[in-house]
Symmetry: C3
Subunit: 356 residues, 3 copies
């Protein structure tokens, strides 16, 4: 899938692994176990892939020592403690990198903006007054940095991204296409049946090593800032409302939405399409399973869920009929009543027996 070529000993060294087999085996590509051909390298991510690994045509496998002993069909291995991590490292070497430097002639850059000499500014980029773009940062075509936006070093901002609201991005931040950072938060004061717009005066702060997917909306704060801390990773089509704070290394999967002023801890994992109400706090190390609604603060680490998986529709319809009755069925009281009735019946039976 790529045109890079490496010798096996080079790859082993890149991941600090132990080479078993032919050190000068020429590796053509990284591939999945299923699609790998004889010149490809693949990886075995745990016991459950053993059968697939045995069947794979891959010329080299990245494995743990324990996995290696169970793989008799292969001759070339890189042995590491963490094959998935080793695979992640190698993807960077097999990438088709296009080194981009300089400013395309069609870019419109305000005189007061400061662009590092070895940054890349793509075609039709528009950069406003007082913006700053750091070393080695790549800004792809059609991006708009509105006035007073700062982007750090080694960042990658993909096409059609809009950064506004005086947002500040630290270093090694990646933002994928068509995402909007610093758009106006949804703040209105209702009065006499109309919505009075609250101009949003806060900003967005994005830490180091943050990754944000495509088509996301991350709004600027009303007065204080919206803050995404170091190491946070966010997938596509995610909404982060004004004044949200997300702690270090938290992962947010696609289609999640976090309402205004909610504070999320460190090292959390939100699966896809989770919704979180506004003005709550979520502790560190909280996992939320897919499509859950988080309607109250969570003060203890752990896993939380709501929503059910699919039912066959006819069964689901009958279930919903029961659910609609549930409000009027005092479950806990009924259980007690049944227990009490059981005791009464037994007492009666015993009375009858004694009178026989």
């Amino acid at each position: 899938m790529t045109s890079h070529q490496f010798y096996l000993d080079e790859l082993a060294q890149l991941v600090q692994g132990e080479l078993i087999g032919q050190s000068k085996f020429k590796v053509a590509a990284l591939a999945s176990l299923e699609q790998a051909q004889a010149q490809d390298i693949s990886f075995v991510n745990g016991e459950k892939y053993l059968q697939e690994a045995q069947a794979s045509k891959a010329g080299v496998l990245i494995v743990t020592a324990a996995l290696k002993d169970q793989l008799s069909h292969h001759q070339n291995f890189i042995v590491v403690d963490h094959p998935y991590l080793a695979f992640a490292i190698l993807t960077h070497h097999f990438e088709d990198k296009v080194l981009k430097r300089g400013i395309e002639v069609t870019a419109q850059i305000a005189d007061s903006a400061i662009i590092a000499e070895n940054a890349y500014i793509g075609h039709y980029v528009v950069i406003g007054e007082n913006c700053v773009v750091g070393d080695n940062t790549v800004i792809q075509s059609h991006v708009h940095l509105d006035h007073d936006v700062e982007v750090g070093k080694d960042c990658f901002i993909d096409s059609h991204v809009m950064i506004t609201g005086k947002s500040k991005l630290a270093n090694r931040v990646r933002i994928h296409s068509n995402t909007v950072i610093g758009g106006e938060g949804f703040g209105f004061a209702p009065y006499q049946g109309k919505w009075n717009r609250i101009v949003q005066l806060g900003s967005v702060q994005i830490g180091n090593d943050v990754r944000i997917g495509s088509n996301c909306s991350i709004d600027r704060g009303a007065l204080d800032d919206t803050i995404i801390h170091d190491g946070v990773i966010i997938d596509n089509l995610v909404q982060i409302a004004h004044n949200v704070q997300i702690g270090e290394n938290t992962a947010i999967a696609a289609k999640c939405g976090i309402a205004g002023s909610t504070v999320i801890g460190k090292n959390c994992v939100f699966a896809g399409a989770v919704g979180v109400v506004g003005h709550i706090n979520i502790a560190d190390n909280v996992t939320i399973t897919g499509m859950s609604m988080v309607s109250k603060s969570i003060s203890e680490a752990g896993s939380y869920s709501s929503g059910t998986g699919q039912f066959e529709t006819n069964k689901w319809k009958r279930t919903v009929v029961r659910l609609r009755q549930l409000a009027d069925v005092p479950l806990t009281k009924l259980v007690k009543q049944i227990d009490h009735m059981q005791a009464q019946i037994e007492s009666i039976e015993s009375t009858l027996k004694s009178r026989k």
Copy 2:
């Protein structure tokens, strides 16, 4: 957070409030109670913020008369009936406004388009045949107005917005970045296992004072128009399908989706991520709580909900086991049966007593 400076008497006048304290106190910024410094003005939005207000370093507080009497630590106040509204009004004065006028040389504007003289057309904007842009309207960079699109006066259209399908926008409309207005509705006639595209011939009509967030999709109608009435406010990542109608001053939070041909009343409030099926009617003054699914018409004003907040995952798993049994548990009948059994037991007990 901003570089504007006002005297306290100026601010009091702007919100028609009563000034208490130093009329020539110099106010540096609007700030939250928590972040405010000695030169800042903040607001107290009800009794529940009293403690925070007492602790705030803000130099001035916007309060009601009742709240004022309970705040002993502060000396400068603006007293109004509606502090939140007063705050909303002041945000407009503390905004860093960049007055933009004229047409950037890189804009591509069809000869037949009519652009008001004091509009602003940003870099790399493309405006097609027969478009109209009204007075004082700001169109930011990279916007595309396809042919026959009309935008009224005092509008703000942010970067990368696409307006197509001959959409017509009235006055004071705000549309945030990367939103698509008038895209083709999802209409297909199934025939012999394939989907036959129905070219969408309707348009989108957007009323006065409508606000639409970033990354929204509002589709043109199939034959008739999709209609967003005056004063509607819509947050980010919202889907409005073809032929939907939304009544005046209704608010739709982020990540909602409204399916085709549904008609929504006036003054409704939809919290985040609500889904509404197609071809239904929703009355005026309806509130839908977050993440609810609206699957049937709603004919009466009121609040409606579905979906549950989070459970600890292990408890939730046990709950789902019960839910999957529920279809076969005739709840209402069981309750009656238990009542009947209770009566039988009592009758038996009474019989036994009488025979003692």
Copy 3:
């Protein structure tokens, strides 16, 4: 709504229908039953629209033979087996087509890119190295085709679309505004509390006649490709994660999300806002109702659901109280216990009777 005019016999011929009435009746527009005026043509999509059809002012109705016999107020008809399909066909003839050819001078096209002579490349389009654009394809303004992207014949790519990750699109593909194809998948190897980015090396393959709405994100595969097969139709704001495969002619409504590596069959229909977890398989001919969560593989064709429609909020709150008790209520066991108690009571009553 359009400026095209046709004689009735022309339209009848276009849909291969039987003309009843004035063959030289001049038809001004296609319109809905409700909005149609005397010169318009409308269609009757089944018995349930009969009353509306009777009341319609439309000058011509497209109907089945059976419907025609029940419509006494009208004189002009086109009789066909499938009125909705005939309507779909006619929309193509009433469309205001703007024939676009050639390359706008502001387009930036790499020397190595190959653009078919009769394609259209809009203003401010950026096309990278080694891209290919086929015959009759229209690429609207501000699109970015990153390097090594291929777009087939007769495609329509609307404004601000980004296609990257070496994606390959076949023929007659339509992609609406602000959609991102081939963005980097959400792949990270966790290690020592941090997320290590996995560079995505796979691509996206899109088959013939695929339609993708606005603001969608379709990610490139990690190693293998993400694949959208022929005839798939996708609505707005949809997330398709890395390595997903979607079978022929499957329809995916707005706001759905499909997590990584899931394989979906042919001819499926997913209603709005459905979520599907990763690494599962869904059979052919599966329907999923709106807002359902699909958490396990589905091996049999049929309809599947989860999630409930709206309740009045107060009733819903009481329902949730019960739901939160449900984990500790052994429903199936209780039903058996009640049956058993009923039998005991009857036995006691019979004993008492016999001893009277």
